[in-house]
């Protein structure tokens, strides 16, 4: 470990300022540390201690270091849950640095406040614009930094890594470091900096024939002035960005050496395992426990009644779970009167009835929806509904903790390491500085790991035992007792004018979380709109699901648009295109998907095609699904997907995310349903909470349009929203049967 020098030994390069986004400092031995940040103060010392590695290693900045072998390590503040963020962020940094991709490594940033992903918070509001919108500018460094810190905003979500951290931090870090290396070489060689070129992690001066690897000038670069706004490359100069640079995380995943949260081992300690059972109905507690049989079972170390859950700690997970199964318990009576799924949907429809044509909370009011509806030549209306969904990541919820001497060490897969750290600190009544987080790879997140409930539970068990414990939820616990994509219901009325144009659009639904604009389809030219939310009680707790509100809203909106096309007697593609006069990028995407699918040709007998268009997380996606109904049950045979993310930094990774989103979305559309009985979740494992199987997976084709390189969209989520409505619309095309409630398989049981 390198030692951290006193601030007095800092180089002249160290100048963190409120508006300065880049700062630097020196570690003992002349090692350079630079950081890109939106916060005041100088965190160099602390960061240095967290990311410093072995001897002879130079920390070029807090987002990158270069070692003596010329290996560049990108330090990435986002989690890797299969979406490829680690690799593509390193790719962006490496491009600006002109680094040799084969010499680039990735390191997960430690869970420290200095790595707060302020830009993600910003991204939630600024929707991926490179510069802040004017109305946000005054608050950026103040309000959003503060909120980011308050919310422990080192988060991975909102399909935001590339468009926020990548654009605002990784590229700047790489460009600044390159400029400083060039400056140091120019000084040493006595040549103008402008004559030095960089490529493949090597500095060259053509005229004098000199060249040197970056490592040689890493320390000297510390003495260079720091460019506060280094020039970033224009797309024409990209070497790595926009290419299919091989992902850095794949080899370890293929050869089995990749380590996930559930693989955690506390070195040198006897591992113990906890199995847990929460009360079956949300909000209820353990009233009475009988553990007499469990106590005598093999391997059992402790039995805990934590009030809101039961836990057995044992020598192995299996023994813990077996003993837990042997515990009988009684629970307190639930307060909510919602007992069944029917009860839940009855609440929704009552809320919609009460809101009527104009009630509820207004979200969007455009033109005169009421007047336009009154004057419409033709009116249509439809109600849609979706059930609760579980995230079902293949790695079940788990956390390993060791609580001792007023300190806590945690190993867990999480999308929010800092939030997990403070939640554990709060639960244990210790300071967050006394909690050390290790957050390895995630075996699936999908929004479930934005929540920290399982981390708190593990910390409480660890506090009770005082020795290291690995808590693992069973699959049943994971399916039944977690947090869920909300169920929801949405009611539409629409008015068509005499020429079949959708001129009035009235919509009210019951659940609104995130993103704020998910309930709108602003790209369509619909002159009069009233969109409202009539909030209704949810029985199960909510957690963001892949694409969050878009996961239900896209099904509602794009099904209704399809019904409007049908009422107007128009082709679904033509009907949509006619409304895209103001949205050329959306039009191009929709036309592309239609062309890929051969929309103008007739599908084979028994088959139908459906189309849907969405914009989510800044990325425009159109999908055409072809469904084969010849067996009487729907089978999606093909999905053609066209997407415009602005610019795909790694097209292979982007396509991969579209495919993943489509498969995840098909699972939800066809099978996904968490239902209630006696207030508890009915499903338990993959036999009754089905995932799409290999043999059911359609052929998926993805094409990318790089429509606007200065405004990037996300990748992790946008592939999902269009697939459910496109499939339902395809089923309508094939059978004239309109699906207004998911999951689809229930209609063909």
């Amino acid at each position: 470990m390198n030692e951290i020098a006193k601030p007095a030994q800092r180089s002249r390069a160290a100048k963190w300022s409120r508006r300065g986004f880049i700062g630097a400092g020196v570690l003992a031995g002349g090692t350079l540390l630079i950081g890109v940040a939106v916060r005041p103060g100088n965190p160099v010392g602390k960061l240095g201690s967290l990311v410093a590695g072995g001897q002879g290693e130079q920390l070029i900045n807090s987002w990158l270091k270069i070692d003596a072998d010329n290996i560049v390590t990108a330090i990435v503040p986002h989690c890797e849950m299969g979406q490829g963020a680690h690799s593509v962020l390193a790719q962006m940094l490496a491009d600006e640095l002109d680094a040799d991709w084969s010499l680039v490594r990735v390191m997960q940033a430690p869970a420290d406040g200095s790595y707060v992903v302020t830009d993600t918070i910003r991204g939630f509001v600024a929707q991926g614009t490179l510069g802040a919108p004017d109305w946000l500018e005054p608050t950026w460094n103040g309000l959003f930094t503060r909120i980011g810190r308050l919310a422990d905003g080192m988060i991975t979500g909102g399909s935001s890594s590339v468009r926020t951290t990548g654009q605002h931090t990784m590229r700047i870090a790489g460009a600044a470091a390159r400029q400083m290396l060039v400056g140091a070489a120019a000084r040493a060689w006595g040549v103008p900096a402008a004559e030095i070129t960089t490529a493949g992690s090597v500095l060259s001066h053509k005229a004098s024939g000199r060249s040197a690897p970056y490592a040689r000038f890493a320390a000297a670069a510390a003495e260079e002035d720091m460019p506060q706004t280094p020039a970033l490359k224009a797309p024409g100069d990209y070497r790595l960005m926009g290419t299919d640079a091989p992902r850095t995380d794949i080899p370890a995943k293929v050869n089995g050496t990749a380590s996930f949260g559930i693989d955690a081992v506390v070195t040198g300690q006897t591992m113990t395992y906890a199995a847990v059972r929460r009360a079956p109905v949300p909000g209820t507690r353990v009233a009475k426990m009988d553990a007499s049989a469990a106590k005598a079972m093999p391997g059992v170390l402790q039995i805990l009644n934590m009030g809101d859950f039961l836990a057995v700690v044992a020598d192995s997970y299996w023994q813990a779970q077996q003993a837990l199964n042997a515990i009988t318990a009684e629970y307190t009576a639930p307060e909510s009167s919602i007992r069944s799924s029917q009860d839940q949907f009855a609440r929704f429809s009552a809320a919609l009835d009460e809101a009527g044509e104009a009630g509820g909370k207004e979200v969007i009011a455009l033109g005169d929806a009421k007047g336009a509806m009154a004057g419409a030549a033709r009116k249509i209306s439809a109600d849609y509904q979706v059930p609760y969904l579980a995230h079902a990541p293949l790695e079940p919820m788990n956390a390993t903790v060791w609580v001792r001497d007023g300190k806590c060490e945690i190993w867990t897969s999480t999308q929010v390491p800092l939030m997990a750290r403070s939640a554990a600190a709060k639960a244990l009544d210790i300071s967050a500085d006394d909690v050390t987080m290790h957050h390895p790879l995630l075996g699936g997140g999908f929004g479930r790991r934005l929540e920290v409930d399982y981390v708190i539970m593990a910390a409480r068990i660890g506090q009770a035992t005082g020795y290291p414990v690995k808590m693992i939820w069973s699959r049943e616990e994971d399916t039944q007792k977690g947090l869920f994509r909300c169920a929801d219901m949405s009611r539409f009325t629409g008015g068509l004018d005499a020429r079949g144009r959708l001129v009035a659009y009235n919509n009210v639904f019951t659940q609104r979380n995130d993103p704020a604009d998910a309930c709108d389809c602003a790209f369509y030219d619909i002159p009069n709109k009233s969109i409202r939310v009539a909030e209704a009680e949810l029985h199960l707790p909510f957690a963001a699901f892949r694409s969050v509100d878009h996961s239900q809203q896209a099904f509602f909106i794009e099904s209704f648009i399809d019904e409007a096309a049908q009422a107007a007697g128009r082709d679904p593609l033509e009907f949509r295109l006619a409304m895209l006069g103001q949205s050329p990028r959306h039009k191009a995407v929709l036309e592309k998907a239609a062309a890929m699918a051969g929309w103008s040709t007739r599908p084979a007998a028994g088959r139908g095609r459906g189309i849907a268009l969405t914009e989510s997380f800044g990325t425009i996606v159109a999908e055409v699904v072809e469904v084969d109904m010849s067996s009487g049950k729907p089978r999606a045979t093909n999905v053609w997907c066209a997407a415009d993310p602005g610019f795909a930094m790694n097209p292979d990774g982007f396509r991969n995310q579209m495919e993943g989103g489509i498969v995840f979305g098909l699972t939800a559309a066809l099978y996904g349903e968490i239902s209630l009985r006696d207030g508890a979740v009915e499903q338990g494992n993959f036999h009754d909470y089905k995932l799409l199987r290999m043999d059911e997976c359609p052929a998926i084709a993805v094409e990318i349009i790089n429509g606007k390189h200065e405004k990037l969209g996300g990748a992790g989520e946008p592939g999902l929203p269009p697939v459910a409505p496109a499939l339902a619309n395809a089923i309508f095309a094939a059978t004239a049967k309109r699906i207004r409630a998911l999951p689809i398989s229930k209609h063909f049981a």
């Binding site: 918070i121 939630f124 509001v125 929707q127 909120i147 308050l150 919310a151 422990d152 905003g153 988060i155 909102g158 050869n255 089995g256 050496t257 081992v265 070195t267 040198g268 006897t270 113990t272 426990m289 106590k295 079972m297 093999p298 059992v300 170390l301 402790q302 039995i303 805990l304 009644n305 934590m306 009030g307 809101d308 020598d315 023994q319 969007i364 929010v416 939030m419 939640a423 554990a424 709060k426 639960a427 244990l428 009544d429 934005l450 929540e451 920290v452 981390v455 708190i456 409480r460 506090q463 009770a464 020795y467 609104r512 979380n513 993103p515 704020a516 604009d517 709108d520 602003a522 963001a544």
Partner: protein
């Protein structure tokens, strides 16, 4: 359409509400024994964490997908490991080894096994054993103790 400030805050409210609260202590805590301590009446077959051979037998589960360890049992994806300690590398009868192992010249002492399991590909570059790395030293020691206990 321009989002309003009220729009902007919904996502953040979601984040803020997720923070934990001060936890309650256990309502009931039944301590049966300490980890590592022998159970008062040790149930038959329960591994004793203080005994490395028993701990190694449990940890061998990570290897059992590919290796059998019973005397005379057929090799699987990997060779039978019965009696491997002290044996020349690549010598289990009937198993087709990679040239890397066959030509390694290693005799599987406990020490050699320790470096091999710590990083198989580094110890024997080109080995076809694609999984089975054990980074945790005590766990490695336990597995090796278990393997050493397997003698006719």
């Amino acid at each position: 359409m321009q989002p309003t400030a009220a729009f902007a805050m919904t996502g953040l409210a979601l984040l803020l509400s997720a923070c934990g609260s001060r936890a309650e202590a256990p309502v009931e805590q039944i301590v049966v024994r300490q980890p590592g301590a022998v159970a008062a009446s040790a149930p038959v077959g329960a591994p004793d964490a203080g005994d490395p051979v028993a701990a190694g037998k449990v940890a061998f589960a990570a290897c059992a997908a590919c290796h059998s360890a019973a005397p005379g049992a057929a090799s699987g994806i990997g060779p039978n490991l019965h009696g491997v300690v002290g044996r020349a590398a690549g010598s289990a009868p009937g198993f087709s080894y990679s040239p890397a192992i066959s030509k390694s010249g290693i005799t599987w002492t406990e020490r050699e096994l320790d470096t091999f399991l710590a990083n198989p590909a580094a110890k024997v570059p080109g080995t076809s054993m694609a999984a089975g790395q054990v980074t945790d030293a005590p766990r490695r020691a336990a597995i090796i103790a278990y393997l050493a206990s397997l003698k006719d």
